[in-house]
């Protein structure tokens, strides 16, 4: 608990059925999320390295701040050497 391995990459993913367009994610993670004209999030699908602490923190904030709990962080394991 509490230990985050800073290896590999992650993407933020939204469940579009749960999402009701509160828009908190765009304020909590502006580097990953922007809103469309109806207020629903458009999330960049580019994987971000977990070592990018600032972005990962804001993604975690967005997940916790979502009133519908519609956001998830999908971890992508680093390729085995």
């Amino acid at each position: 608990m509490g230990v985050i391995r800073r290896t590999g990459q992650f993407v933020l993913r939204v469940d579009p059925i749960l999402c009701d367009g509160f828009g908190h994610c765009a304020e909590l993670a502006p580097e990953l999320v922007h809103l469309d004209e109806w207020g629903y999030p458009i999330i960049s699908s580019e994987p971000v390295p977990t070592a990018d602490i600032g972005t990962h923190e804001s993604a975690r904030y967005a997940v916790r701040g979502c009133p519908r709990q519609a956001l998830h962080i999908i971890k992508i394991a680093p390729p085995r050497p």
Partner: protein
């Protein structure tokens, strides 16, 4: 036994009434020279006929690896208003579909088969019910149940269908990773289109070699096509994959050189009149970014206005959204609005066409199911196909077809939103 090289296969001995079990056994008498079911299915190269074109044998193997209770779902919902193939198949040769479902069940080890037919079509429901009843005395395999969800465009989507069986709501589910195993309760579920099941039934009786006698090497077999649009009576016929589209149109008496033909249903795309010599199979259609899809050919004659037709279809598709995901619930009506503005033309239309392309890019891929993606594909293809017509509209000189009250792509009447039935 029915011969390998001639059509019809699935509609063999088809009549206005469904074949009884005895007649069915007589028509499709097994040859006995067939190896193990799964190997035959793999060798046959059958792909799903519901629209996505996923290899059936791969789906079966995915389900075989699962443990516990399993189910087979026969999807005879026919969400496409332009298609009639599943209804026609189930009301002529229901036992062939049920045979295929039984074989699929034995392959994955399922104990129950759920046959789903929309309740809006009571005649077909009756036919299927009678067929299941007829089989009951000599049925040693899985138990058959008939289910009748309400007819909606998205209710035929596989996750919506499984959701209905599981929880009585015809709403699509969010599936983050694909392939994704759908479940009823805890039981893994194999969902296959009725036509796919019927083909499995044929492969189980006659083997892969027989099946491959028709069609192309990559996409063997036959496919059921529903031809609608500018034609006296909508027709359903079985063709061998790889038949040129002009030949199909000629054989049903439609104009072989129309303005365009809509392929794959209302989530599909247009093929221009000049390109209709293309063989009707996925590998030949792939360069046009098209696929066979649900087997719909909707003919748009030269007198019709592509913009108005597209607008009507998109408006209906927007209405058929399950309204679960924001981009679909708000985006699709916005697309329909934009298209109406383009059809009206003038200065507003120029802004609308720009907005339309932007909104298409925003909506694409952001729903839980593929419904919004299909509409976006259709809109994009219409913009590309009818670019001249759109220019005329924007210049304020719309074609004569846009003033006519006759329309060729049929859409059901819009229901009131409060009256939509989802369960």
């Amino acid at each position: 036994m029915i011969s390998a090289r001639t059509l019809p296969r699935l509609f063999a001995n088809a009549n206005s009434r469904p074949l009884s079990l005895a007649d069915h056994e007589e028509t499709f008498r097994p040859t006995g020279a067939v190896g193990s079911l799964l190997e035959e299915l793999e060798a046959s190269g059958l792909v799903g006929r519901g629209g996505a074109g996923f290899p059936t044998s791969r789906k079966v193997q995915l389900l075989r690896a699962q443990r516990g209770h399993k189910y087979v779902v026969v999807n005879g919902m026919e969400g496409e208003p332009a298609a009639h193939k599943d209804f026609r198949l189930l009301s002529t040769n229901p036992h062939l579909v049920l045979d295929g479902a039984e074989m699929l069940a034995s392959m994955i080890g399922a104990s129950r088969v759920a046959v789903c037919v929309a309740r809006d079509n009571p005649a077909v429901v009756n036919h299927v019910e009678r067929a299941i009843h007829e089989r009951a005395p000599r049925n040693h395999g899985p138990s058959f149940d008939l289910h009748t969800p309400p007819w909606r465009y998205v209710a035929g989507e596989e996750s919506a269908l499984v959701h209905w069986l599981d929880d009585n709501e015809s709403l699509p589910q969010f599936r983050p990773g694909r392939p994704h195993i759908l479940r009823i309760g805890r039981g893994a579920t194999l969902v296959d289109n009725a036509e796919t099941c019927a083909n499995v039934g044929l492969i189980g009786r006659y083997g892969a070699q027989w099946f491959r006698e028709l069609g192309t090497a990559e996409h063997p077999g036959s496919v059921i096509v529903s031809v609608t649009g500018a034609i006296d009576h909508p027709r359903v016929l079985e063709v061998s994959l790889g038949t040129p589209i002009t030949t199909i149109l000629q054989s049903v008496g439609a104009d072989p050189h129309p303005q365009a033909v809509l392929l794959g249903g209302y989530g599909g795309a247009w093929l221009r009149g000049e390109e209709l010599a293309t063989p009707y199979c996925n590998e030949a259609l792939a360069p046009f970014d098209l696929s066979v899809g649900a087997g719909v050919l909707a003919v748009l004659p030269r007198v019709a206005c592509g913009v108005t037709e597209t607008q009507r279809v998109v408006r209906w598709m927007a209405h058929e959204s399950a309204r679960q995901c924001g981009p679909c619930a708000f985006g699709l009506p916005a697309l329909a609005e934009d298209l109406a503005e383009v059809a009206r033309g003038g200065r507003d239309g120029v802004a609308a066409i720009k907005r339309l392309t932007d909104r298409c890019a925003v909506i694409d891929g952001r729903g839980a199911c593929r419904h919004p993606d299909g509409v976006v594909r259709f809109v994009r293809s219409s913009i590309a196909t009818f670019s001249e017509d759109i220019d005329n509209h924007l210049r304020g000189a719309p074609c004569a077809g846009s003033r006519s009250s006759q329309h060729y792509l049929t859409v059901p009447a819009l229901e009131k939103e409060s009256e939509l039935v989802w369960e």
